[in-house]
C-alpha cells in the first residue's frame, strides 16, 4: 500500500486505529492487562505532529478496554524513523508473534505479522460440492503484491504488544 505524493501536499491520508473490543476473543486478555495494556497501546511514543492525541484512560473497573488512535494522518515532518521496523517477538503458548510496521513520511502505512504461530495440520476431510455451478481449483500459495488482504487475521494481545514495540522503536 504505497503512499506517494509531493512533499508539500498531503496527497493521501491514512489512519491506523486500534479497537480493542470489537470481536469475541479467541483468547482472553491476561490478568491485569485490561488496565495497563490499553493505556500503553494508546500511547504511540512521544508526541509528534503525526501522532494521535493523548489516550483516554481505561475504565476504573478494568472490565473493558478503551482504545485511542495509534496514529492519525497529518502532514508535516516528525522525528520518526522512516522505513520498516520490527517489533519484539512476543511468545504465546502457541508460538511466537512478531509484527512489523512500515512508516513513511512519519505515518504508519502498513502493519504486518512476520511471525505467527503455525497451525497443526488438520485431518483431511472428503468434501461434497453443493452444486456443479461452483468453480473449483487447487489451493494456490500466491505471493502477489496486493493493496489489501482479506482473511481472518490473528489479532491478539501478543500482536498488539509487538505492534506497540515496533512503534516505540520507531520513535526512540
Amino acid at each position: 500500500m504505497p503512499k506517494r505524493g509531493a512533499i508539500a501536499l498531503v496527497t493521501t491520508a491514512t489512519a491506523l486505529v486500534l479497537l480493542l473490543s470489537f470481536k469475541t476473543p479467541s483468547e482472553a486478555l491476561p490478568a491485569g492487562s485490561t488496565g495497563g495494556s490499553p493505556a500503553a497501546l494508546a500511547q504511540a511514543g512521544p508526541p509528534a505532529a503525526s501522532l494521535a492525541p493523548a489516550p483516554t484512560p481505561a475504565p476504573a473497573d478494568g472490565s473493558g478496554a478503551t482504545a485511542a488512535p495509534v496514529a492519525t494522518a497529518s502532514p508535516g515532518a516528525t522525528a520518526t524513523t522512516n522505513g520498516t521496523i520490527a517489533g519484539s517477538v512476543v511468545q504465546t503458548r502457541y508460538g511466537p508473534v512478531q509484527v512489523r510496521v512500515t512508516i513513511q513520511g512519519g505515518r504508519i502505512t502498513d502493519a504486518q505479522a512476520i511471525q505467527l504461530p503455525s497451525d497443526h495440520p488438520r485431518s483431511v476431510e472428503l468434501s461434497r460440492y453443493a452444486g456443479s455451478v461452483l468453480r473449483s481449483d487447487v489451493l494456490a500459495a500466491q505471493s502477489a503484491q496486493v493493496d489489501l488482504v482479506s482473511g481472518a487475521t490473528y489479532t491478539s494481545v501478543a500482536y498488539l504488544q509487538s505492534l506497540q514495540a515496533a512503534l516505540d522503536a520507531a520513535h526512540s
Binding site: L19, G64, A111, R135, L148, S150, G151
Partner: protein
C-alpha cells in the same frame, strides 16, 4: 479481540480531519456495542438492564438487521446463540455495519477513492491510483505470508469468516459444534454489512454456504475447503486476477 482498522484515502483534496471524524465514530460504536464494556448498551441489554426500545437508534437498527438475518439464514446467524455462554453478541454484524457507516462519513467528506480494512473486512471504492482497481488478496489459511487468491475490486466490499485463528471461534448455533467443511469463506458484494453477515452465517453452513450466499443478488463467495481446495461462485469469475 482487538481489531486493527486501516483507512486509506487516495483523494488528494480530502482533509485529513475527515478521517478523524470516521475514527471518532468507530470508537463511539465500540463503546456502545462492545460486549467487553460492562457499561455499554449491548452489555446492559444482555443483562436485562435495558429493554430494546430503550436502546439507541443504532443499536435497535443492528438488532433488527440481526433478526432479519437470523430468519433468512434459518438460525445459522443468531446473535443470542453465537457465544458458548449465551451472552448477546451482535459483533458478527456490528463490525461490517460500523465500517460501512464509517465509509459513508468518508464519502460525506468528499472521499471517492479509498479503502478501509478492518481486520480483513474491506471496503474498496474507486481506484488506488488512476487506471486500475484495488487489488485484494485472500489470505492463505496455512502459510501466513501467502495468498490463496487475488481479486480486482472496485466499489465492493469483501469479508472473510474462517478458522485461521487458534481454536474455532465461530460456533454454529444450531449444532454447537464448530464447522468443518470450510477453512474460510470470503463474501464479495455491494455492502460490507451484509458481506460480513453472510460470511459469518455462510461459513457455519459449510459448502452449502456458498450457494446460500450466491442466492443473494449481487453477492459472490469464495471458499477454501478443509481438504485445501478452493471453490467459488460464478459471479467471481470476472474478479479473480
Amino acid at each position: 479481540m482487538g481489531t486493527v482498522v486501516t483507512i486509506d484515502v487516495r483523494d488528494p483534496a480530502v482533509d485529513p480531519a475527515v478521517l478523524d471524524v470516521a475514527v471518532a465514530y468507530l470508537h463511539d460504536v465500540e463503546a456502545r456495542f462492545s460486549t467487553y464494556r460492562a457499561d455499554g448498551e449491548v452489555s446492559r441489554l444482555g443483562r436485562g438492564e435495558l429493554r430494546e426500545d430503550e436502546c439507541s437508534a443504532d443499536v435497535r437498527h443492528v438488532l433488527a438487521l440481526s433478526e432479519e438475518l437470523r430468519r433468512t439464514s434459518d438460525g445459522h446467524f443468531d446473535i443470542r446463540r453465537h457465544r458458548a455462554d449465551g451472552v448477546l453478541d451482535p459483533s458478527g454484524l456490528v463490525k461490517g455495519w460500523s465500517i460501512e457507516e464509517a465509509s459513508l462519513l468518508l464519502e460525506a467528506g468528499g472521499a471517492r477513492n479509498y479503502a478501509i480494512n478492518a481486520g480483513g473486512d474491506i471496503i474498496a471504492r474507486g481506484e488506488p491510483e488512476p487506471g486500475r482497481a484495488w487489488r485484494v488478496g485472500i489470505r492463505h489459511p496455512r502459510i501466513t505470508d501467502r495468498l490463496a487468491a487475488t481479486l480486482w475490486v472496485r466499489d465492493l466490499a469483501v469479508a472473510t469468516s474462517g478458522s485461521y485463528e487458534r481454536g474455532e471461534h465461530i460456533r454454529t448455533p444450531l449444532t454447537g459444534r464448530a464447522p468443518r467443511e470450510l477453512l474460510s469463506l470470503t463474501v464479495i458484494g455491494p455492502s460490507l454489512t451484509w458481506a460480513d453477515a453472510y460470511a459469518t452465517a455462510g461459513f457455519s453452513m459449510g459448502l452449502a454456504g456458498l450457494a446460500w450466499v450466491a442466492g443473494h443478488p449481487g453477492y459472490g463467495a469464495y471458499g477454501i475447503t478443509a481438504d485445501e481446495r478452493v471453490t467459488w461462485t460464478p459471479a467471481l469469475d470476472g474478479l479473480l486476477a
